[in-house]
């Protein structure tokens, strides 16, 4: 995945894929803004196996921006409208082969499912959900850092993640970060045994 080329191509193609309203000329300007700001939103991904569900691949996606960036863009991550986007394809954002999850409060019991385009909606890799939003206490006041836990990733698949933040002056799109989803094998012994001894 070419990070550099990705940043250059994202605006135009995303215009076709992501935006659902507005005209493209205006959006192009918005995306120029996005391109300019992209490097200021940093995304880190930590892949791990669920500690509560066997064979379940999770990831914690953290994104942050500097206080100056947040101030200049008038963004508070705790309140901003954001979405987490992912693709499992090489240059997938450019090809429109992505999935999007609105960054909204969620719990394991009330997950927020990812939404993919019709072309990729059945893809196993896109059948994941956001199950938790996290914000470090220190960053809560400044609104410069957020984290989301997603559950049900397809193990062994390379996910490329990015964050899209709506601001008054346009959209901020982070640089993409690629990470391999954790593989979480667990050997299923058998149905739980009773405490009776069995003959060998």
């Amino acid at each position: 995945m070419s990070r550099t080329s990705l940043r250059l191509i994202v605006p135009a193609l995303s215009c076709l894929v992501i935006m659902t309203s507005g005209n493209c000329d205006l959006l192009a300007q918005t995306f120029q803004q996005s391109q300019r700001e992209a490097h200021k939103v940093v995304v880190n991904v930590e892949d791990f196996c669920s500690t509560t569900k066997l064979r379940t691949s999770n990831a914690r996606i953290r994104w942050s921006m500097s206080g100056d960036t947040a101030a200049s863009a008038k963004v508070n991550l705790a309140a901003a409208k954001q979405s987490l986007e992912a693709t499992v394809y090489h240059d997938g954002f450019e090809k429109g082969l992505l999935v999007s999850v609105p960054v909204t409060p969620a719990t394991p019991d009330r997950p927020v499912a990812a939404r993919a385009s019709a072309k990729t909606s059945k893809l196993r890799a896109y059948q994941f959900s956001l199950i938790q939003l996290e914000q470090p206490k220190a960053a809560a006041e400044t609104g410069t850092e957020m984290a989301a836990v997603v559950e049900g990733l397809e193990p062994g698949v390379d996910y490329t993640w990015r964050i899209v933040i709506e601001t008054d002056s346009g959209r901020l799109v982070s640089s993409p970060t690629t990470s391999e989803a954790a593989v979480c094998p667990a050997d299923m012994a058998s149905p739980s045994p009773t405490n009776k001894r069995r003959k060998r």
């Binding site: 995945m1 070419s2 990070r3 550099t4 080329s5 892949d47 791990f48 196996c49 669920s50 500690t51 066997l54 064979r55 691949s57 499992v88 394809y89 090489h90 090809k95 082969l97 893809l123 196993r124 890799a125 397809e154 193990p155 062994g156 698949v157 390379d158 690629t178 391999e180 989803a181 954790a182 593989v183 979480c184 094998p185 667990a186 050997d187 299923m188 012994a189 058998s190 149905p191 739980s192 045994p193 405490n195 009776k196 001894r197 069995r198 003959k199 060998r200």
Partner: protein, 1095 residues
């Protein structure tokens, strides 16, 4: 047993050759179970095996690449397997055999921790006995997406072109490696050249050398040997861990699994076809095709379980159309646990040489390898697997324990293995260890006492996934053991390398759960009572539970975070078994950070050894004897942890396992994997490294000895035991032997036997010193070698890298034994053969276990004689012989300005006017001149007696001296001689305020008769006399000068007769004519060249 004998034999061989290295004599026995005695195929003994390689030409020969245990080979079609020690990288992925050459094998592996890595691609040309990592198999600098991918290489799938077996293609973490000469040389290709090269996970070459790859960049195809690549823009293959295979009939039909999803392309580009994975998990799913008859072929798919799909090539075969195979809901199978093979597939191999209906013969999975007992088609296509007689010994322990029993043979050993369940034995010290397999699957805990064993096994459903079973010692009772009757709150911790279960006394156990740390002092109670230790201060994410008992008090230790041992976490202690105490954090060493792996002396809670991670200074192993108040760095062990630089102490992308997971991640790791005190002898400790070996100390941690061979185990016969994580000591063997049992991550279980010996410590207080010397001399220096620890230090040799330095063998010869606290002064003889500062590296070979070879730098300064010779000798103007017997002399200074004697062989005159010059005071030559002295002691002079008037008469004095006293080689230096030949006379220069005047109005010379005041006779009068310049010839000793008029010189050779002369000079100064007079006397041989008249 064979291995043990072989190892012992080789070690004895090595003892003979290299006594010092084997100061601590160790024998090795791989005690891993050869097979499982459980009827459950998921309770296997082979450990994880990834890919298989079948030798087409040699019947029965097959290779297996294990996850963490290296390469194995079978020569009997999978019945018995043996580890190939010559393949040093141990984290392997795939292995393939050249179909036209049984001896040529290709293997791929992940980073091996070495500074100069041997991982990635390895090639054998002798059937797997020895391996090379070709230099060109390392990607070029700046080619990979990150520099780490170049310095820490990894490689994945292998493909050999069926059309040309010299053409080999290997997916790597830095693009596709291609060899066109059967693995001798390699080049790297990035299928997506517009961005840096990343992972190519698998490759298939088929149908006229078409190359298809999958990986981080999805699927790409090349039809021109990798020069250019194509991919789909609309329906590409997703990126990730993958397996790819082609239809046997159609070049454009491919099958792939990425992650857990199965895809098919029927046009070679677009991956529109999919199959539902019948049992997804995703460790290393694979696809394989097997040609049947006519237009039919099978699609074999393995993930959790193995299935066979039925596929048909359309007639006529055209690109596109319907998917070629039946829906996965109709696939035959599963063919794993229910068919005699462990679940979690790795690879499948077919009978070589059969164009159609080849039987599946070998299957690999997380339980090792399995053989198909059905060998005839068509029955064999519904395989009935059986485990080998001797499986690969690739078990990985999550937990390990030993319980002491008297006598040598009896010893309870327990293995809680990843994937393959729990094994126990009661005769761990016996020649042949008998293992009992109890439960399948993931064993996370095993701790025992003399009457029972407590094991933690995963994964069950519904309810608790990890259960605690209470079993008979050695797991010998058979049958399904009962669970504990009462569980402590929380869930048993799982998928962590640091244990969370201890047996701290008879019937007494402690366990860390997801809720806290709990103890019971009666595990056999009808209702077990669990007491939580320090609930209010309980550390988060507790793991790595250990204990120490001293003075009737039990102290527990727990690590918080970093539960695989490779990441820093905090360490806490808790005193007692009641609930009211408080967990106290153990202070970290200076520099901050935290602890990785650690051990506490079970007899002394103040004594802790640990890897110290996360500090700015980098990883280290430290030890405290006061509970962490102060820590000391174990320098000798730290040196061994890197193999003195052969291994990185901390790497960036080495294969590791994330906490909570069970598959490889490329996150890097520090070397320390094991530290442990011997509870029966406080002097003995063991430590282990991921890659750098196993180390033993017999003096409390000061000195350590590497006892395994991580460098060349294939030739030394001493095994490489990577990733030891667990240890248990037994002091019962006869003759003072100590058994050290080791549990590993992927290399099975081992028994090391050794005797405790005192460990000497070599010390060289200072390098030998030499007085300044001269070529041809000999100087001696004293190399003092001391022994600062217990045990005799045996120095077997001392060698010098510079032949000018030699170590004089002591009178008794080598070896030299030096007792504790004594020193021995070895004599180093310096015989210089060249001048200047001379340096040597003295290599001392001894039985110091930590520094078996110690190097000392020594320097000596060699002086030489140095000729001092004035380069130019200028004579004053000298009257020619035709006038009289006139001459002038000058000293010729030939000195020794060096620090050693100088031999002057000859001094001779030569040059165009050599006959005008002469030498006097010359001693008999050759002569040796001491430093600071001169030839002739100052009496050596040159004389000048010219015969014809001339401005310049030149010659040179050539001094020949011995420049190399050793060889007698001579060199020469010359001094230039110059003199002006004149008649008797004088030379006049007129100046104004010291500056020569351009012209002088008149110069008049008169001879005075009758003394200074007598009659004057005009001799000469000249007017308007210009300033003249005489320029010396370059390269001579001659000097330039200026004058207005001369008498007896070249411009006016008329000589002045001896007498007194009056010189009057008239000049125009300030527009007025002024005059000055001066007088001079001309002697018989006189010529005054410096008459200056200044206005």
């Amino acid at each position: 047993m064979t291995r043990c004998r072989m190892a012992l034999f080789t070690l004895v061989c090595c003892l003979t050759m290299q006594t010092a290295w084997a100061q601590l004599s160790v024998t090795f026995k791989d005690i891993s179970p050869d097979r499982s005695n459980s009827p459950d195929a998921d309770a296997a003994s082979g450990g994880r095996v990834n890919k298989l390689g079948v030798d087409v030409s040699t019947p029965g020969r097959v290779y297996a690449a294990s996850e963490f245990g290296g390469i194995y080979r079978s020569t009997d079609n999978g019945v018995t397997w043996a580890h190939l020690d010559g393949h040093v990288p141990q984290v392997t992925w795939s292995v393939k055999v050249d179909p036209t050459n049984s001896n040529r094998i290709y293997a791929t592996s992940f980073y091996d921790g070495r500074t100069n890595s041997r991982s990635g691609i390895n090639v054998s040309t002798d059937g797997g006995n020895t391996w090379t990592h070709p230099a060109s198999a390392t990607p070029p600098v700046n080619f990979c997406a990150t520099s780490t991918r170049q310095t820490e290489p990894a490689a994945f799938g292998i493909a050999i072109d069926p059309a040309n077996s010299n053409h080999v293609f290997i997916g790597t973490n830095c693009g596709l490696a291609i060899s066109l000469d059967a693995g001798v040389t390699w080049s790297f290709v990035d299928p997506t050249p517009n961005d840096p090269a990343t992972d190519v996970r698998d490759v298939v070459v088929h149908h006229g050398s078409i190359i298809d790859v999958c990986g981080a960049d999805g699927h790409l195809r090349s039809t021109n040997g990798g020069a250019t690549w194509t991919t789909s823009t609309t329906q590409p293959l997703q990126s990730g861990v993958c397996s790819i295979v082609a239809s046997p009939d159609e070049a454009y039909v491919l099958f792939a699994v990425v992650g857990t999803s199965i895809f098919e392309t029927d046009d070679g580009v677009n991956w529109a076809g999919t199959y539902t994975n019948p049992a997804p998990q995703g460790r290393i799913p694979f696809v394989a095709t097997n040609k049947r008859s006519g237009s039919n072929y099978d699609l074999w798919f393995g993930d959790v379980r193995l299935f066979r799909g039925s596929c048909t090539t359309p007639s006529p075969a055209v690109s596109g159309g319907a998917q070629r195979c039946n829906a996965s809901s109709a696939w035959a199978g599963p063919f794993t646990r229910s068919a005699g093979a462990h679940d979690d597939s790795g690879d499948i191999a077919f009978t070589p040489g059969s164009a159609t209906n080849a039987c599946p013969t070998i299957f690999s999975s997380d339980g090792g390898v399995f053989r198909n007992t059905l060998t005839a088609s068509p029955a064999c296509h519904t395989p009935a697997w059986t485990q080998p007689t001797v499986t690969p010994h690739g078990l990985r322990q999550y937990a390990f324990d030993g319980v002491h029993r008297p006598a040598a043979g009896p010893e309870d050993i327990y293995l809680a293995n990843q994937d393959d369940g729990t094994f126990g034995t009661t005769n761990g010290g016996a020649a042949a260890v008998s293992w009992n397999t109890e439960n399948c699957c993931d064993g996370f805990g095993a701790k025992a006492d003399l009457t029972r064993a407590l094991t933690a096994v995963c994964c069950f459903s519904p309810g608790r996934s990890t259960l605690l079973f209470v079993s008979a010692p050695g797991l010998t009772a058979g049958g399904s053991p009962p669970q504990v009757n009462t569980y402590p709150p929380g869930n048993v911790r799982s998928f962590e390398q640091l244990e969370s279960l201890v047996s701290f006394a008879a019937n007494s156990y402690a366990i860390a759960t997801t809720t806290g740390i709990f103890v019971t002092t009666n595990i056999g109670a009808a209702t077990i009572a669990w007491t939580q230790l320090g609930a209010t201060s309980s550390p988060v994410s507790p793991c790595g539970l250990q204990f120490a008992a001293s003075g009737g008090t039990t102290t527990f230790f727990i690590k918080s975070g970093g539960c695989n041992g490779e990441l820093a976490g905090a360490l806490f202690r808790y005193q007692g078994t009641t609930s009211g105490g408080t967990w106290q954090q153990v202070t970290t060493p200076s520099g901050g950070g935290g602890f990785g792996v650690y051990a506490v002396d079970q007899n002394d809670p103040q004594r802790i050894i640990a890897s110290h991670l996360g500090a700015p200074a980098g990883p280290e192993v430290v030890l405290t004897s006061n509970g962490g108040t102060t820590w000391s760095t174990l320098s000798a062990l730290n040196t061994l942890m890197t193999g003195s630089g052969a291994f990185k102490y901390q790497n960036q992308s080495g294969p590791n396992v994330s906490s909570g997971g069970a598959s490889i991640r490329f996150n890097g790791y520090p070397q320390p994997s094991l530290v442990k005190f011997d509870p029966s002898d406080q002097d003995i400790l063991v430590a282990g490294a991921e890659d750098a070996g196993v180390f033993i100390s017999t003096n409390g941690g000061t000195q350590w000895q590497l006892v395994t061979d991580p460098i060349s185990p294939g030739t030394s016969g001493v095994p490489h035991i990577p990733r030891p994580y667990f240890a248990h000591f037994d002091h019962d063997p006869a003759g003072g032997d100590i058994n050290l049992f080791l549990g590993t991550r992927g290399r099975g279980a081992w028994r090391l036997t050794f005797k405790k010996v005192a460990m000497p410590q070599i010390q060289v207080p200072a390098p030998p010193e030499f007085n300044p010397s001269c070529l041809g001399d000999k100087e001696t220096g004293s190399l003092k070698v001391c022994n600062t620890s217990a045990g005799d230090l045996v120095v077997t040799s001392i060698t010098s890298s510079n032949p000018e330095f030699t170590v004089v063998p002591p009178s008794g010869g080598f070896p030299v034994t030096i007792s504790h606290d004594f020193c021995f002064p070895f004599t180093v003889l310096f015989t210089p053969t060249s001048a200047g500062a001379q340096t040597t590296t003295l290599t001392i070979t001894s039985n110091d276990p930590s520094s078996p070879t110690l190097t000392v730098q020594a320097t000596a300064t060699v002086g030489v004689g140095s000729l001092g010779l004035d380069p130019d000798v200028l004579f004053p103007p000298t009257v020619i012989q035709g006038v009289g017997n006139c001459h002038s002399t000058r000293p010729l200074v030939v000195s020794n300005q060096g620090t050693c004697p100088l031999t002057i062989a000859n001094i001779a005159l030569g040059g165009p006017n050599a006959s005008d010059f002469s030498l006097s005071g010359l001693p008999a030559l050759p002569i040796t001149v001491e430093p600071g002295h001169q030839v002739g002691s100052g009496d050596l002079t040159t004389g000048f007696a010219p015969s014809d008037v001339a401005r310049e008469r030149t010659a040179q004095a050539t001094v020949t001296f011995v420049s190399d006293p050793v060889t007698g080689t001579t060199s020469t230096q010359t001094a230039a001689l110059c003199g002006e030949a004149v008649r008797t006379g004088a030379r006049v220069l007129v100046t104004q305020a010291g500056v020569p005047m351009p012209e002088v109005h008149e110069i008049e010379l008169k001879l005075i008769h009758g003394g200074w005041f007598g009659f004057r006779k005009e001799v000469d009068e000249v007017k308007k006399v210009p300033l003249q310049t005489v320029t010396a010839t370059s390269g001579t000793a001659c000097a330039s000068f200026r004058f207005h008029h001369e008498y007896g010189g070249v411009s006016h050779p008329k000589q002045l007769v001896p007498g007194v002369y009056q010189l009057k000079v008239e000049a125009i100064v300030g527009g007025k004519e002024v005059e000055k007079k001066t007088w001079f006397q001309v002697e018989t041989c006189g010529f005054d060249g410096t008459i200056v008249v200044d206005f």
